[in-house]
Structures are given as structure tokens and as C-alpha cells.
């Protein structure tokens, strides 16, 4: 079994953290149902071209946070995760993505106000798009 996980080797986020975040996102998004099998530490390490030490660390953290569980001799499985916790992950992912955008702006010497302006522009264009969709397809009741 393989996971749709991609490592960003240029990123400053440690690799084990990248794995954790992506596995959590797969679980929160419903792509990995409770009870489904995860790849073994050794085979995921081979797929991702990293050491078992790093993969084990990611799995241990995921297990401690209740996202996966390991049964001796049987393997590693996705745990039952409460809806609240899944929502938390999704919210955190959205915040993180927005933060990254703001950081990119700051790196290019934008002021917070300029970034806010850009953000408003994007929001406005998204709202406009949404309105158009409603016009095209009628009311979304």
C-alpha cells in the first residue's frame, strides 16, 4: 500500500513533520478511513527515500496523537479519529497555508497592510466568481 505523500526537500519544515502533516490531512479529508492499513516503516522509507529513523519518528508522533495505531505483528492502521479532531486538522491546515502566503509577501518586502490589500482583492475576486456560478446554475438551494 502506498500513500500519496510528497516530500519537499527544499522546505525548512523537518521531513518527519511533513509526513505527519500529510498523513493527518489524508485522514481528516476522509481519504484514509479508520482501519485502513498504512505502509510499513521500511517500505514508506523506501518510497520517500528517507531513513527508517525519520519515518519511525513520524509514526510515533502520529500514534501519540491518536491518528494511527500499531498492532504487534499485524502492522499499522488508521485509528478512529473524532470529527472534532479531524476538523481541527483541517482548520490548522488552512491557517498554515494562509500564513505561508503572508510569509512569502513579507519575504518580498511587502508591508502587512499591502498584504492585507492583496488578500482583500483575492477574496473579492473569489466572491465575484461565486456569484457568477450562482447566476449560471440558478439558485443553489
Amino acid at each position: 500500500m502506498e500513500l500519496p505523500i510528497r516530500m519537499d526537500k527544499d522546505s525548512k519544515t523537518p521531513i518527519y513533520h511533513q509526513i505527519e502533516e500529510q498523513v493527518k490531512a489524508l485522514i481528516a479529508g476522509g481519504h484514509l478511513a479508520a482501519g485502513s492499513t498504512l505502509p510499513s516503516i521500511r517500505s514508506l522509507s523506501k518510497e520517500l527515500e528517507i531513513s527508517v529513523i525519520t519515518t519511525r519518528r513520524a509514526y510515533l508522533n502520529l500514534e501519540q496523537q491518536g491518528f494511527i495505531k500499531t498492532t504487534q505483528g499485524k502492522g499499522t492502521f488508521v485509528a478512529e479519529v473524532e470529527a472534532d479532531k479531524k476538523k481541527e486538522v483541517t482548520v490548522a491546515a488552512i491557517y498554515q497555508a494562509l500564513e505561508r502566503g503572508i510569509e512569502t509577501g513579507l519575504r518580498h518586502d511587502y508591508t502587512i497592510e499591502q498584504i492585507e490589500e492583496a488578500f482583500q482583492e483575492i477574496i473579492t475576486s473569489f466572491k465575484a466568481k461565486e456569484k457568477e456560478e450562482v447566476k449560471k446554475h440558478g439558485n443553489l438551494d
Binding site: K9, S40, R42, K46, E49, I50, S51, V52, I53
Partner: protein, 287 residues
């Protein structure tokens, strides 16, 4: 993870070549890949770990037993695959299997048959009549099936075709999952380093440059393209610079604080490929 092989202060002089002093340990549950130039001493080290070649100074311990020829029971815990099997030329694969299998109590006949089938090995032909690649495949089948705790493989896939290499990669992964195992491979194959290695041991001219966790090497080596000209002074960890705008470093973190302190901006930072890092470290420069 336990330390299963300990090498301490190992030294050997041989016709103008000096190996060591080497100090290194190998832990269970991991794959160590030894990478080095030709003649760097990799094969000699393997043979010493098997007590097939003597050494002048130092000591080697395998699973608590001293490797000095007095007590040889530890040999049952190790399967060693040399670059070329000696004394097998006249035997067929079937005969070799009959000779080797009774010597190992864990011999796994079904694993042996599965590898034979998977790699399409002709067991009725004499070893000496097989091509180098097929000889290697047969010898891997004979080695893995011993199901020992430790596997020492000296360039196991050097002569093999690409599809067989891939099959073997999966076999090695599967073998590691049979229990608590230790695998030490010497290899020039980038794929072995990428896909199998937990630790990399770099050797040059009989010396161990170091033992590294694979990701530590990748995260510390970076190439930067700068917005301004490079300062005359060296960047921390600098290994190469070009056009006064591009610099390669082995200490990315220190290099970044160095740039920040001097208000030098970089347009792009790129992680190096593992084979590029190895070439730099073994003195081959950029590929």
C-alpha cells in the same frame, strides 16, 4: 536498535595502502550503505568483519563475540556475500543449494525457491557458465535464504540489469521486515543509496570520512543563487562557488545566518541530490 557490530581502532597496512584507524558501529534494524572510491578499503573491511583477512591493530565485535578466530559461532548469525564467489565454478545452483542449506539452521527453502523463480535462475547450469549478472543473482538467492540476523553484501547488484535491481530492492526491504535485522551493503548504485540506506558510510583511501544519517546529509547541503555578489570571505561550509553568484555549502543553516547578517538575499535555495553530495564528499566535484 542495538549495536550488533563494533569496530574499534582497526588498522591494517598492506603494500603501501593503509586502512584505518577505523571506528564505527552498526545498529540492528537499519541498513548501512558503504560508499567509497575504488580501492578505498570497503571490501577489506567486510573481509575483516568475517575474519577472512587479518588486521594489525584494533578489534571487531559481532553480537558480543570478538572476531579473532578463537570462537566462530557468531558466523552462523552473519551471511556474507563477496564480490565473487570462489570455488563454485564447477557446481550447479542445485548443488550449491544442497551444500549451503544444511549449514544454516534458519535456511528458508520457500524464500530460496521464490527468488529463483522471480529472477528466472537456471539451477541446473554450472555457476562458472553463467553470466556475471546471473552469478550475482544466484549468489543473492543463496545468501538471503540463510535468513541470518546480519547480512553483509559487497556490491551485490553491480552487474545486474535494471528490472532485476528493482526486484531485489523490494526483496531487501522484505528481508529487513522478517524481524530485527542488520544489513550492510557496499554499493556504487545511486538507487541503493536513495531507496535503501538509513546510514551512509563514506570511505576514501582507507579512511572513514564519516557515518551520516541520510536526511542529515541532504538537509545540510544546499546550493544558493544570490541576488548580490558573493563576499570575498568564505561562506560557512563552502564547497564550491561559481560566477560570484552561486555557492554550494555543507552547512546550510550557518550559511543562511551568514547571509542574513550581511544582508545578502538569495533568489533560490536548492537541496542537493544525494549522489551529488557523495561526489563532493569523495572529492569528485560536481557531476
Amino acid at each position: 536498535m542495538e549495536t550488533w557490530i563494533k569496530v574499534k581502532g582497526l588498522e591494517k597496512k598492506l603494500d603501501g595502502f593503509k586502512l584505518g584507524p577505523l571506528d564505527v558501529e552498526f545498529e540492528s534494524g537499519t541498513i548501512h550503505v558503504i560508499v567509497g572510491n575504488n580501492g578505498s578499503g570497503k571490501s577489506t573491511l567486510f573481509k575483516q568483519m568475517m575474519n577472512l583477512v587479518t588486521y594489525d591493530k584494533g578489534q571487531i565485535e559481532v553480537m558480543g563475540y570478538s572476531v579473532d578466530g578463537k570462537e566462530e559461532s557468531w558466523k552462523k548469525k552473519i551471511a556474507y556475500q563477496p564480490q565473487t564467489l570462489i570455488g563454485c565454478v564447477e557446481f550447479t545452483g542445485n548443488q550449491l543449494q544442497q551444500i549451503i542449506s544444511p549449514m544454516y539452521s534458519n535456511w528458508d527453502q520457500s524464500l530460496f525457491s521464490r527468488i529463483v523463480e522471480m529472477l528466472n535462475l537456471p539451477l541446473d547450469r554450472k555457476y562458472g557458465k553463467l553470466s556475471q549478472g546471473v552469478q550475482q543473482k544466484l549468489s543473492i538467492a543463496l545468501t538471503l535464504a540463510r535468513d541470518t540476523d546480519i547480512l553483509l553484501l559487497d556490491e551485490p547488484t553491480a552487474h545486474m540489469d535494471i528490472p532485476s535491481k528493482r526486484l531485489l530492492m523490494d526483496l531487501f526491504v522484505e528481508w529487513m521486515e522478517r524481524g530485527e535485522k542488520l544489513m550492510v551493503i557496499s554499493s556504487h548504485q545511486t538507487e541503493d543509496i536513495r531507496k535503501l540506506a538509513d546510514y551512509l558510510l563514506l570511505m576514501r583511501d582507507g579512511q572513514l570520512i564519516g557515518k551520516y544519517l541520510k536526511e542529515d546529509l541532504s538537509s545540510s547541503h544546499k546550493r544558493y543563487w544570490l541576488a548580490q555578489q558573493l563576499p570575498v570571505e568564505k561562506v560557512p561550509g563552502e564547497i564550491e562557488r561559481k560566477n560570484e553568484r552561486m555557492v554550494v555549502t555543507s552547512s546550510a543553516e550557518e550559511a543562511e545566518s551568514f547571509f542574513e547578517a550581511r544582508q545578502i538575499n538569495w533568489l533560490e535555495a536548492e537541496a542537493l541530490d544525494i549522489d551529488e553530495i557523495v561526489s563532493y564528499m569523495l572529492g569528485g566535484g560536481r557531476q
